[in-house]
């Protein structure tokens, strides 16, 4: 019975599928995420490439995988280039990857990041490990290409600056396979060369691939292990390589490194000249100051002999003045003394007595004169009064016949008859003698 319905064997089917797939998916680019990564000892990399809804098995054989600059890890987004292959015995299809690169970042870039991270963790970039660059490097080792731009620039600068330094060039390849190893070796051997003060490692500008040797682990470790301080001088200002991170100092370019190394020396020469100047200048001016001080002291401190004659002059002068002074004083004193003497003399007691007695005599004379005059006056006065008195003598009135009566016993002089009573006793005085009377009758009428 023939029905137009082909019946495949499994092998037939699989073969058809294999042809179909392999012919139609021969070298394609596939993007996806790595997972289930497995690298057995064979070195082949087995993994799964997946996205949100599908996955495909993949393998990268050792022959290709060893060229990888980066390390594939689970979760890494990658772009692969390969072909589909069907493995009949298992009826599986897979992607055989010939080329792999990280998505977004370049492979080299990723490798750079990964190594940088790793070495940083180990402490290779730690500032504590960085050695100071000697101020006066006399013997300088340079690791670079003998024909490259780097060495040319560096030597030009050193030549131009007239710096007397001894350069030891260790020629290496600066890119390509094996370059990293040569560079590392150069650094090691320069450490063993007698008295190298500093090593410059570098090359001229280039792409990331060109500079790649300076990003290799072997170079980084050689720099780290170097006893001699290392200055990295790779590419242009913007290029940063792993070597730059490990080095004791990074110069942005090889020319800059040469300047650095030579500049120090020139600065030191100038610095020394400057210090020298200041040293001499300052010492000179210090001397001047001291000299001046000494001079002035000296001036004040005169020669003893001069001092003696000076003293003598002084003494003469002083004594002259003293003498003059004394004389004057003496004269003055004399005057005063004389004056005092005179005054004293005037005050002499004898004299005083004489004076007094004379004075007394004068007074006496005056007194006598006065007395005489006075007496006369008095006498006159007396005379006057006595006449007046005589005139007023009450008893004289009695001579004229008047009498005085006293009321007895009181003895009052009677002037008013109204005070009398009959029978009162009265005493009457006349010019010659007195008599007692009794009142008979009182008459008050005026006549």
């Amino acid at each position: 019975m023939s029905i137009f319905r082909p019946i495949y064997t499994v092998t037939q089917l699989t073969t058809e599928i294999k042809n179909l797939l392999e012919r139609n998916f021969e070298y394609i680019w596939v993007e996806g995420e790595i997972s289930n990564l497995r690298i057995p000892t064979s070195g082949h990399i087995y993994f799964t490439l997946k996205d949100e809804t599908a996955q495909i098995r993949a393998v990268m054989f050792r022959l290709q995988s060893r060229l990888l600059k980066f390390e594939p890890v689970d979760g890494l987004q990658v772009i692969s280039y390969g072909r589909i292959s069907v493995y009949e015995p298992r009826g599986e299809y897979q992607l055989i990857v010939d080329y792999l690169e990280p998505k977004g970042l370049g492979a080299l870039q990723l490798a750079f990041e990964q190594l940088k991270e790793k070495l940083a963790q180990e402490g290779l970039f730690d500032p504590a490990h960085k050695k100071p660059i000697p101020r006066l490097p006399q013997r300088i080792g340079i690791v670079t290409s003998p024909t490259g731009a780097a060495i040319r620039d560096m030597l030009k600068i050193i030549e131009r600056r007239y710096a007397n330094v001894h350069i030891f060039l260790y020629p290496v390849r600066v890119q390509g396979p094996g370059a990293a190893q040569e560079i590392a070796q150069a650094i090691k051997e320069l450490n063993e060369w007698p008295s190298i003060d500093v090593i410059i490692v570098g090359r001229g500008g280039g792409s990331l691939e060109d500079l790649w040797a300076f990003n290799e682990e072997v170079v980084a470790r050689a720099i780290f292990s170097s006893r001699v301080p290392v200055i990295s001088a790779v590419g242009h200002e913007i290029d940063y390589t792993i070597a730059d991170f490990v080095a004791d100092l990074r110069a942005p370019t090889p020319s800059a490194a040469a300047e650095l190394v030579v500049q120090e020396k020139i600065e030191l020469i100038e610095g020394l000249a400057n210090l020298n100047n200041r040293l001499f200048h300052n010492f000179r001016s210090l001397l001047e100051i001291k000299k001046e001080k000494l001079q002035s002291l000296l001036y004040r401190l005169t020669d003893p002999r001069k001092r003696l004659s000076d003293q003598r002059l002084r003494i003469d002068d002083l004594s002259h003045r003293l003498f003059k002074n004394i004389r004057q004083t003496l004269l003055k004193k004399k005057e005063i003394f004389q004056f005092k003497k005179d005054s004293l003399f005037l005050q002499h007691p004898g004299r005083q007595i004489d004076q007094a007695s004379w004075h007394l005599q004068q007074l006496f004379r005056q007194m006598i004169l006065a007395e005489r005059g006075e007496l006369r006056l008095l006498r006159q006065k007396w005379q006057n009064w006595s006449e007046k008195l005589s005139a007023l003598n009450p008893l004289a009135i009695l001579e004229r016949g008047y009498s005085i009566s006293w009321l007895l016993p009181q003895g009052e002089i009677i002037k008013d008859a109204s005070f009398l009573k009959p029978e009162d006793k009265v005493r009457v005085k006349v010019h010659k003698g007195e008599f007692m009377a009794k009142v008979e009758k009182i008459n008050l009428k005026e006549e």
Binding site: R135, R139, P146, R152, Y162, I167, F168, R278
Partner: protein, 79 residues
């Protein structure tokens, strides 16, 4: 080692000059300092002059030993 000596000497010289500039030293001290300064200055000058001006290239001979040879840019470009 020579490096250290130069460094020390230079620094000491700087210190001495500064001290003299301050002017507080006695005459005797100044004299001493000045003498020392001159000595240090001469030492430093000598050190600075010491290095020769030379460029050499290190190459391995047939036995793998590293030897120095004179080097000039011209000779390199000729290779």
């Amino acid at each position: 080692m020579a490096e250290q000596k130069f460094e020390d000497a230079f620094q000491k010289l700087e210190a001495i000059v500064k001290k003299l500039e301050e002017g507080n030293l006695s005459l005797e001290e100044s004299l001493k300092a000045f003498e020392e300064g001159v000595r240090l200055s001469r030492f430093c000058a000598k050190k600075l002059d010491e290095a020769e001006k030379k460029v050499e290239i290190l190459l391995k001979d047939s036995e793998g030993r590293l030897l120095s040879h004179p080097f000039s840019l011209n000779s390199a470009e000729e290779e």
